[in-house]
Amino acid sequence: MNQANLDPKPNLDPTTNLDRRDFLTKSSVGLAGLAIAPGMLLFDLAHGRAQDEAVSNKVRWGMLIDNNKCESGCNDCVTACNTENGLSGGIKPTDSQWIRKVQLKDTHSGHISSLPMMCQHCEEPPCVDVCPTQASFKRADGIVLVDKHICIGCRYCVMACPYQARSFVHEVLTDQKTEVPRGKGTVESCTLCVQRVDKGENTACADACSKAGHNAILFGNLNDPDSDIAKRIRAVTSTQIRADLGLNTGVRYEGI
């Protein structure tokens, strides 16, 4: 018989007061911490999110577009968007265009400029309000999307969008990208490259703009006070297009 099991007195010596259960508990917490910490660190660095983690409203994705840096003849953001999302790049009135370059001329001063225009990812999106089936929806992190499975193609959201940012798929599509579901008879628009953002990457348009050396598109988390975009928005005057509508857009512009 084991003598220790019969001993009714607990070990009261403070220097050796660490039984096996305590030891195992404490050491496993420590090990878990060691195992998770680098992952958390990397995750934090990449601003991404684990596959099984729900989207949180602690993040609000947005863009700040500097109109002064946007080159008039440059179309790189549009091309990158088309390539990333499998759009044809056609510019017929029936073709989908998720992002477009708009040329502006001030009617009084005659000043000419250009800027990229896309879904503004409103906090109060009119497209979501009017959609009869809730196919148009806003993710917790502010990205406005269309659920391709429940869109019935009524086009009411196209009528309601103040930015003409939505396209209706007018014909049969081929060679689609697996990460970017699209379908004939449904409405679509800029997804803020959700497939990239969820992996912790930048949007295709922002990357293309940086690659071209313009750096006119800054993408990031508006809710993170330490993010570049939040700092920049605090530092400069930025505007929302049709701010009078009170939609609180996720895409802001500088220099218009």
């Binding site: 979501v128 009017v130 309601a160 798929v169 007018h170 379908g183």
Partner: protein, 397 residues
């Protein structure tokens, strides 16, 4: 042809009309099938003008469905005997027109196969979703209304059901107006005047359709409509046409008053090419002034001129809706006020739209559905208005 020989062939004529209606429905099906197979690329619609001619047909029928029921309401709710005799016919026509209108609206969807999704996923903030609820209620109430009128034991319920129906259709037509009125960023639509405007338009359009069907039924059954009743109804049409003109004028004048809307009003009323032409010639002249002349000028106002006036009112309604729906979208959105804009996506440009055959066929297919339901149901159910001459004369106030 004598009336005797007509009676002998009456059944054949009826089936010939049914065949004609069925043929038009089939052609509408072909139009829909082409759109379903190839997508909206086969229509004239595009990313700037997303609602085309099918919406013109659909909204005409939905608004007229509500308006035609006004005839029944005048009888049931306001107790006017000559209109009471017409309540069953007005109920049947309302169901027919709403069926035709909804068929077009739904078959013009990008994914009509997902119609069930509209019933299973309901967005309470969407006026479109409210309308789905309002349309279902309209069908149910109209059927109930007919039952209370046609089944003697249920007659006592006719008045309360008629009242509910009256309220329901006012809300339904307001809902149709709100589909546009809620589009705050579209210069053509964001106006609180639209729901009342659509209600008054519905009175005129519904009555015009009713007068045509009524004249056809009387002629078919070799009967003559009491001139006193005809006079009452044509005068009512005149009042509705004038009221419609008033509200349409108020809508444009209030828009003109707002500096930010004047560009749109100049476009739609003066500079927009085909749209001002259709508005002034189609709606104002042919669709309003000419019918008013046919109704009120001394020596006119007989059955033929009233039918002609009604046909012109319907023509005018299509003209008005075409300008309102297509012209309203053709004018570019004001995204950057104070700037001249251009892009590859139609910014700052007038949208182009030419209706194509498939979508026109779909529209007429919807009208044919309404026509078929009307002629079959009026034959199967005894809905021919039976007037007592003395009653008509007595109520001629």
């Amino acid at each position: 042809m004598s009336s005797n020989s007509f009676s002998r062939y009456e059944t054949r004529y009826f089936y010939a009309l049914v065949a004609l209606g069925a043929l038009l429905v089939f052609l509408g099906y072909l139009g829909m099938h082409t759109m379903e197979e190839h997508g909206h690329i086969v229509t004239g619609m595009n990313n700037q003008i997303v609602w085309g001619i099918p919406h013109v047909f659909a909204i005409f029928m939905i608004v007229a469905a509500s308006g035609v029921l006004n005839i029944g309401s005048i009888g049931t709710v306001f107790g006017k005997t000559p209109y009471k005799a017409r309540a069953p016919l007005s109920g049947l026509m309302a169901i027919a027109l709403l069926s035709g209108g909804l068929a077009v609206l739904m078959l013009d969807l990008g994914r009509p196969d997902r119609l069930i999704v509209a019933a299973t996923h309901f967005n309470p903030t969407s006026v479109f979703a409210w309308n789905i609820f309002l349309y279902s209620g309209f069908f149910t109430l109209a059927a109930l209304y007919l039952w209370t009128m046609m089944e003697k034991r249920m007659n006592v319920w006719s008045k309360p059901v008629g009242f509910t129906m009256f309220a329901w259709r006012v809300i339904l037509t307001s809902g149709t107006g709100l589909i546009f009125a809620f589009l705050v960023v579209r210069q053509a639509y964001a106006s609180a005047l639209l729901p009342p405007m659509f209600i008054v338009l519905s009175f005129a359009w519904g009555l015009a359709v009713f007068l045509i069907v009524q004249a056809a039924m009387y002629s078919w059954n070799n009967k003559v409509l009491d001139p006193a009743i005809l006079k009452r109804m044509k005068n009512l049409l005149g009042i509705f046409v004038i009221s419609s003109l008033y509200l349409v004028a108020a809508y444009h004048l209030t828009n003109l008053y707002f500096a930010k809307q004047t560009g749109f009003e100049h476009f739609i009323l003066r500079d927009g090419g085909i749209y001002p032409m259709i508005f002034w010639a189609g709606y104002v002249l042919l669709g309003s002034f000419l019918p008013l002349a046919l109704i009120y000028l001394p020596g006119l106002g007989n059955t033929k001129t009233v039918v002609a006036a009604s046909l012109l009112v319907i023509l005018g309604s299509f003209a008005l809706l075409y300008v309102f729906i297509i012209g309203g979208q053709a004018y570019p959105l004001s995204i950057f006020p104070g700037y001249e804009v251009s892009s590859s996506f139609g910014d700052g440009q007038i949208g182009k739209y030419v209706p194509s055959l498939p979508e026109i066929l779909l529209g007429f297919g919807g009208l044919a559905i309404a026509f078929l339901i009307t002629i079959i149901s009026t034959r199967v159910l005894n809905s021919l208005p039976h007037d007592v001459a003395a009653v008509a004369a007595k109520n001629d106030d």
